[in-house]
């Protein structure tokens, strides 16, 4: 091969391998969500995680890709059936490689929602909203930032998707969990009860797999190996933020609850990863450390706030991890960016970037929450969103699928 072919080959290889790693995050999500919920709903939650990738594959291929990356206007791309319009070559990789990479990102956004709505959502309605998220909601806000839309034009910097992917999923999860209402038994006399998940082993395994996948998610967003220093830098910032998130949450839970708590610390690692995603290319390692530490602290208080004040029941912490920390991480770019062409306030870059980041965070939150309200209320008053009391008490596996996850 000549150097042109080699360059394309190398970049495509990197993008496809990164996509494989991001694909594997589906497994991580499935395990975390299964581990953090009760065994009577395990078949159901696994099933939802399998199906959202199946549906996401079809719907993002059908329409989502075009809506996100089609030229269109500042707000929406084009109707381009079956992902046939080429958006890859301009980036130096085949269209199908870019499509596949974007597909696994889209599926990540959709899968975030299932955790927050676990243990009480109708299977049928789940399939419905999951398809709509991958096909329409995610691609439109994605277009704003990555597809040539208005937020990208404004200079908003979201390198690998703290906002594009995680916040969108997180805010939809928030609305979904709120519209559904808490699980039976979650609140007694207005006080939150603990409903422990059935396996922290699955939870920890899932988090390790997600951490692994993030080494595709963040550095893979370079879409090539032209700048190896950048790629290696992203590995380091991503990893530091994750580690710092874990350590910070460990410390907070230890001080605050008297004992170091694994379930929360697992969320802390994820919080660090989500928060670094927007700025992994531009912040310094020390910046990454700071972002990770703050994310690890933030996630604890966010979970508490949702649980105790808002009384929104999010069994796996999806809102705090993806919504809150996605927003947080995006904003931090406005302060701590220092490289890869962007500079934040603290490094003398002025407030313009910060304003763009804030605008993006607010706009995407508004979009996701607005869409969520319409979507979930529409489902609630048509096919119904929540299973009956009896089904919930006896477990969704039993009534919705006739199949228990565990047998002798």
């Amino acid at each position: 091969m000549d150097t042109t072919l080699l360059t394309t080959g190398l970049n495509t290889l990197w993008v496809l391998l990164a996509a494989i790693l991001v694909f594997f995050m589906q497994t991580g999500f499935a395990l975390v969500e299964a581990g953090f919920t009760r065994s009577k709903n395990t078949t159901n939650i696994l099933f939802k995680n399998v199906m959202d990738f199946c549906l996401g594959t079809i719907t993002f291929w059908l329409l989502g890709y075009g809506i996100m990356f089609g030229e269109g206007n500042a707000f929406i791309g084009n109707i381009e059936w079956l992902a046939t319009t080429d958006h890859g070559t301009a980036l130096g990789i085949p269209n199908m490689a870019f499509f596949f990479f974007q597909l696994v990102f889209a599926a990540t956004a959709a899968t975030i929602v299932s955790g927050a709505m676990a243990e009480r959502t109708k299977f049928k309605s789940y399939l419905m909203y999951s398809a709509i998220i991958s096909m329409i909601i995610y691609p439109i806000s994605g277009h704003w930032i990555w597809g040539g839309g208005w937020l990208g034009d404004m200079g908003m910097h979201d390198f690998a998707g703290s906002t594009v992917v995680h916040s969108v999923g997180g805010w939809l999860a928030l609305v979904g969990a709120w519209v559904l209402g808490p699980r039976i038994g979650k609140y007694r006399n207005g006080k939150p009860n603990a409903i422990p998940g059935h396996s922290l082993t699955l939870g920890a395994l899932g988090v390790f797999i997600l951490w692994l996948g993030w080494f595709g998610f963040n550095p893979g967003s370079t879409l090539g190996l032209g700048d190896v220093d950048l790629v290696a830098h992203i590995f380091v910032t991503t990893n530091l933020a994750a580690a710092a998130g874990g350590i910070a949450t460990l410390a907070v839970t230890w001080l605050r609850y008297g004992k170091p708590g694994l379930s929360m610390t697992l969320n802390g690692v994820l919080a660090g990863l989500v928060a670094i995603t927007a700025g992994c290319d531009t912040v310094t390692p020390i910046g990454a450390l700071i972002i990770g530490l703050l994310a690890g602290i933030l996630v604890v208080f966010s979970v508490e706030f949702l649980d105790r004040k808002l009384k929104i029941d999010d069994p796996v912490g999806a809102v705090s991890v993806h919504g809150v920390n996605g927003a947080f991480g995006t904003i931090m770019v406005g302060l701590l960016a220092n490289g890869n062409g962007v500079t934040g306030l603290f490094y003398g870059g002025g407030s313009e970037l910060l304003v763009a980041q804030l605008t993006g965070v607010v706009a995407v939150a508004a979009w996701a929450i607005g869409c969520g309200l319409i979507l979930f209320f529409a489902l609630k008053y048509t096919m119904g969103l929540r299973v009956s009391k009896k089904e919930e008490e006896n477990g969704l596996d039993y009534y919705e699928h006739g199949e228990k996850a565990y047998n002798s």
Binding site: P192, A194, P196, G258, M264, N267, D307, R308
Partner: protein, 117 residues
């Protein structure tokens, strides 16, 4: 001869000691399973951001049928081996059994409880 059923609800952590204590007085056959006990003992627990107290404590039930004359010795042995002195050590209940059958041989009554071979 009257047969009695003894059911002891003990801490899982005392199981080995109780087994040995029973062995020492000649009780070598029993059945056990794990249960959850609700009683005086409480334990602090945390799950994600919720700190709570639970009264649901893991326990083990040891159940066996023996001849009348073993009852007192059994109670004594279990009490000694299962006791830690802290709340939650458990209970022993004794009740009457009308009939016992050894499935392998069809033997009935106290006879079915002896060690034979």
């Amino acid at each position: 001869m009257i047969m009695k059923k003894i059911e002891a609800i003990i801490r899982v952590s005392q199981f080995e000691e109780v087994t040995e204590a029973l062995h020492d007085i000649g009780i070598d056959f029993f059945t056990y399973w794990d249960v959850t006990g609700v009683g005086n003992e409480k334990s602090g627990a945390i799950y994600r951001a919720t700190v709570y107290e639970t009264r649901l404590i893991p326990r083990r039930v040891i159940s066996f049928v023996c001849r009348d004359k073993f009852v007192d010795a059994s109670i004594e042995a279990i009490c000694k081996a299962a006791k830690t002195g802290e709340m939650g050590d458990g209970k022993i209940f004794v009740s009457t059994v009308d009939e016992s059958v050894r499935i392998r041989t069809g033997e009935r009554g106290p006879e079915s409880l002896y060690i034979k071979e």
